[in-house]
Symmetry: C2
Subunit: 379 residues, 2 copies
């Protein structure tokens, strides 16, 4: 191909794909509808942040009470969805993200607002999905673990109830707060690959459930949401390596020599560090210190890995790196880390899908053709 | 927002999102891997075009025979998928594209290659999905119509078998050729919204079934694949309007006055007409003329609508416009037009997903923030 046809950037890096009032991501700051992420992590709850993202403004006391009531009212999932979970979750090839994708796709058929892109219908659907997704995840884990289904507990807030349904154990106030903050941190991040997927789907004026199913598929990938699982798996590998007499330095030297891609590091947008990583690392480490040396170990290994990456490659961790260690310390099974990411990001996805529908233009880029010149079929 | 932050193009119009050797779309030509669309429509079969797209080259006789054997071997779908069809297809809210999306998502759990992005595994999965999708569509329609399931007929080629399974009636040679050509025309179109969705999903290194499920969701939208159904619904509306004493001219004048969006016209890329529209219009009209005045009527109305659009708005029909009339004349239920589009486009999607995986870069654009300036949560 000719030099002029050369792509200026691949993967749309640095290219604006549209306007959005939902989130501002830049080197200096991360804002959800104007509120800085550290401010939200310190002062807001996930329910408040979900409302903020979906509706556009911070809720007042009445609005928040009504929103929480609506979330509580929709936590249960139909028996048919539990049947699908039983059929799929324990298949040898099943990935929890695939199971979640199938359940979300399936639930569309039973949603009375399924085909509507009216703003009020979409807000109802978004609220329902936000309420239902933790229950799908919890029930899926119950089935995988072979225990009885743990029904949602209306006395627990959104994040605490998620942790409870997965494990059957009521979390402490500190555990509830850590998972709540992790959901706040994961709730939104402008045109990341899964949100962008949702917007491309919504841009054809397709429906919200379909756009969310596509976003789940995108988030599954190890270059996106799957990174928190991959980061924890790497820490486990390092732990094994240490048990055999190696050091973190040795492991990293070998990884660099093998040009191995290390998950949980670097970010397409952030070049000077991810605002969210430090917040979760501090919470996770403080909790691990109370649990004891077996828990602190992961953060110690993690600190060494982060220092080596920064010193030798000038690459900062992203939020997925401390997330892996923190969820592990909370006792969450590794394959559910990305589904929990969905339980948070559903709010950001829905906000973007609604924004796309309310001011729509089809998203349809061009391709640069690099294939064969014209030729005849019957040559 | 400031003037400098103004978007140069919205919806990524005119923006290159990457390189591809699959298809060349420009004002003058439409090539699948170098072969011009009219040449393929005249000289190739859908099976040959599917192989061309998936593998990259025209098959020789042995390659084609093996590929057809492989398609034949995978036409049956598991009983569990038929159960899902029975549970969903007749729900009052169910859209056939949603049902198809759920089935494709569900089938992933039972595909032995599901989690692999190895090229050979992806080719096997692509071939299986190409074989299975017509069966899902056919069985779905059987269930909707309340008739017994029509099993695939191994004596029929891919397109003819699709029509047979949907209707229970063996198509004539002409009917088989029309549906075959329509599948060829629909098989591929570079970075259209659904294919681009599949590539964004694949770009996180997520799997093929998830990328296809997302692409199905995107194709459903009335601004994309749903246009063939919307075009036919408009023709029916005009027919009703005529029955009440109106004319096509009156209808169009009113539609223009109401600034109504007319489906099946215009195209993001083609400004001087869609190469595919004329091919299908000619085949459909010739067939309708043999069927008689009740069939020709639609093409007569369609011709008038096309002439008015061109004379008064300088907008050409796209392939969805003649497709609607042609599928209607073939006796295909309108809600299945877009699923049939999937039965063709699965080959293009799969070719792009494989191409993305084989030379991957995460697709992650930027957003231009238009929301509130930074503010304090507890102000």
């Amino acid at each position: 191909m000719s030099a002029t046809a050369e792509l200026k950037s691949s993967g749309l890096e640095g290219v604006s794909a549209g306007k959005s009032a939902v989130c501002c991501v830049d080197q200096g700051t991360l804002l959800y509808r104007g509120y800085e992420i550290a401010d939200l992590a310190k002062n807001a709850t996930f329910e408040e942040v979900a409302y903020l993202l979906l509706v556009g403004e911070k809720p007042n006391a009445t609005q928040l009470a009504n929103f929480k009531k609506s979330l509580l009212a929709h936590r249960e999932i139909p028996d048919d969805v539990v049947d699908i979970l039983r059929q799929t979750a324990t298949q040898p090839n099943a990935h929890p993200m695939d199971v979640l994708r199938t359940c979300i796709s399936y639930m569309a058929h039973f949603d009375p607002d399924c085909q509507s892109i009216d703003p009020e219908a979409e807000l109802r659907k978004s609220t329902r999905l936000t309420a239902q997704i933790p229950t799908i995840i919890g029930h899926m884990q119950n089935i995988i673990d072979g225990r009885d289904i743990v029904k949602p507990d209306p006395s627990l807030d959104h994040a605490a109830n998620l942790l409870y349904m997965m494990t059957g154990r009521k979390p402490s106030a500190e555990e509830a707060r850590i998972i709540d903050v992790s959901l706040i941190l994961y709730a939104e991040h402008d045109f990341n690959a899964s949100t962008f997927t949702g917007r491309v789907i919504a841009g054809t004026l397709s429906d919200l459930h379909g756009a969310v199913a596509g976003a789940v598929a995108a988030l599954k990938g190890p270059l996106h949401g799957g990174a928190n699982e991959a980061a924890m798996e790497m820490l486990k590998e390092i732990d094994q390596f240490i048990a055999k007499g190696g050091t973190v330095d040795d492991f990293m030297t070998r990884a660099f020599a093998e040009k191995r891609k290390l998950m949980g590091f670097g970010h397409r947008v952030y070049k000077n560090g991810d605002h969210r990583a430090g917040i979760l690392n501090a919470l996770g480490r403080a909790y691990a210190e109370k649990k004891g040396p077996d828990a602190v170990k992961w953060f110690d290994i993690g600190d060494k890995v982060q220092k080596i990456m920064l010193d030798q490659k000038n690459i900062f961790p992203n939020v997925d790196f401390p997330c892996g260690m923190t969820y592990f310390t909370l006792g969450i099974p590794v394959p559910q880390y990305t589904p929990i990411f969905v339980a948070a990001r559903i709010t950001g996805w829905a906000a973007h899908i609604m924004e796309q529908h309310q001011n729509n233009r089809l998203i349809r880029p061009l391709a640069e053709y690099t294939g064969p010149a014209q030729r005849k079929w019957n040559a």
